[in-house]
Symmetry: C2
């Protein structure tokens, strides 16, 4: 090792991946697409492919067992991986689950975790086909790999968006982040005084969005019914702003996204205001919504317009025009990604 020391935070998560993998060259014909999208694409025939996506969840970084029941954690760990397969317009079919666990956990705790994993497998119709179980010195780590199927012509990459395309998000945004704020607040109250019962009343929706997100596999069905194939797609795991930047970078386009068009549930807004936060900022930078963000040609406007599951929130512009958030007063603010950066 050289004597130089560069801190991880200097590069950030995405910069670090780019840096570490920049010299790798793909050699196998079956490797259709490697690093740089929600899932890798492995060719299995002229027309068909397998999709591979993997995620690692670390106790104390991605989840806190003080308010995250193990059953929910198991469910969420599966759902967020399947979300990546959905973001490629593919059908998830299998998962592997590896866990590292300290002997602080009894067998019964892992039964709870696997109960959640089993529920997710059942709801999303995926099979658990393997994994690894090992001990850790402290805490719980979960690593899941999801495998899906897709016709090559159906696969939606981040790179397919064109200038003029409409930008569409599913569902509503910012709820999972506000749910986390409520849970963190009640944890702090409990730590002060364990006799006070947590006050979660009226926050069911946003807490559920945090504890039990869903992979929007239903959206793929709706899109098929509408006969719409997105020109690009990504799932919203790190926050709307960060995902827009990914689409723009991969597709070499700019973007205008309109504050007034961003779908935010009333309960999210109310909670944000309670915390003196701007609801739009929560939607832009909060993360963990696991909604799908996609682009479609303007010619598809009539098919998307008014769909209760989808909101048109902006349009793609020329790359040189940059990426802008247009606030309710009409001012254009240049977007900077502020998604989760675990190293900061």
């Amino acid at each position: 090792m050289s004597n130089q020391r560069t801190e991880l935070e200097k590069l950030g998560e995405f910069g670090l991946i780019d840096h570490l993998t920049k010299d790798f060259v793909n050699k196998n014909n079956s490797t259709e697409f490697g690093i740089g999208d929600d899932a890798a694409v492995i060719s299995i025939s002229e027309e068909e492919a397998k999709l591979i996506s993997t995620d690692m969840l670390i106790e104390g970084v991605h989840f806190n067992l003080m308010y995250m029941p193990l059953k929910h954690l198991g469910y969420k760990a599966v759902a967020v991986n399947l979300s990546d397969i959905c973001a490629m317009n593919g059908t998830p079919e299998q998962i592997t689950v590896s866990i590292a666990v300290s002997n602080r956990f009894p067998v019964e705790a892992l039964e709870e975790l696997y109960e959640g994993i089993k529920t997710a497998c059942s709801i999303y119709n995926v099979d658990l086909i393997g994994g690894d179980t090992t001990s850790s010195l402290s805490g719980l780590s979960i690593s899941i790999t999801a495998i899906g199927s897709a016709k090559k012509k159906d696969i939606t990459y981040r790179s397919g968006s064109k200038e003029g395309d409409l930008l569409v998000t599913t569902g509503d945004l910012g709820a999972a982040y506000m749910g986390l704020q409520i849970l963190e607040r009640e944890k702090a109250v409990y730590n002060e005084n364990p006799n006070i019962q947590p006050d979660l009343d009226g926050h069911d929706y946003i807490i559920e969005r945090q504890l039990k997100p869903e992979a929007r596999i239903d959206i793929l069905k709706y899109l098929k019914e509408l006969d719409v194939k997105p020109s690009s797609m990504i799932d919203i795991s790190d926050g709307l702003a960060s995902e827009i930047m990914h689409l723009c970078k991969s597709s070499k386009v700019g973007c205008h996204v309109y504050d007034e068009k961003i779908p935010i549930d009333a309960k999210t807004s109310m909670t944000a205001l309670e915390f003196n936060m701007d609801p739009s900022t929560c939607a832009l930078n909060g993360g963990e919504d696991y909604e799908l963000l996609f682009t479609v040609p303007q010619s598809e406007f009539e098919k998307i317009k008014g769909n209760p599951h989808m909101s048109i929130i902006g349009h793609m512009t020329n790359e040189n025009d940059g990426i802008y958030f247009i606030d309710k007063g009409g001012s254009a603010i240049e977007l900077k990604a502020q998604g989760w950066s675990h190293f900061e």
Copy 2:
């Protein structure tokens, strides 16, 4: 959660996996084989399949950075995963690599790790197609998933062995374990007095077996040249005894394995004696050899006999006859798996 508390060590690693996954039912036609072999098998056409295997390596449990250079660790992490694909008689083609790392590590350390990963990818002709990079509260965790290809008719399961089959191991056994003993001894000496230089002289071979094991992809080529398809196969990660038990359990056969036939390198034996250990015990229970253990019908005896890469070490018997180690004096000792059990 119920109030009962069952310690993880009560079930052991394999018992725990069985227990946690016993109620999972496969629903997808593409899932040809799930949990219970070195890799899962996903059908991609009538004749072809993809193989999926995954492993998790935890600092302080699977490796010690005090004597494991990061470059070697990266190489080993890839090799041991590819070994699982080889054990199914498949060709590894892709890997995903996820790492969780604390900010104790600078970028330069991860560059070393990925240098080893890249070397392994280059030597084994596999592509790095994805992964996840996140922070951890302490230490380094690596989770790798390997993807391989195979013709369905070529796949070797653990379950295919028949009574009368010959039991064959590749290479020599116990070396990686004795290499670990040397490294642990020198670590203890160093901890006592950091001014004493480690004495690794004459132990190059066994230390390399510990720090830089190889996936025996070359064996698959030799077997093809000999026109031999093993009736069952597994890789030796937890020690010969444990792997024999897996083959016997899956194939519903018994086994006689002969002490005098087990290939042990002279340097392994010498080091074992230096440590007052029985070399055969190191081979049986040491682990991390990553050699291939397979069975062939007796009719293949002439093809295997005298092959410098392969040793016939026993034969499979009736299930009711049990699993026996025949020592050099001719006494039969019933084998009990004593492989690595991380929870004990």
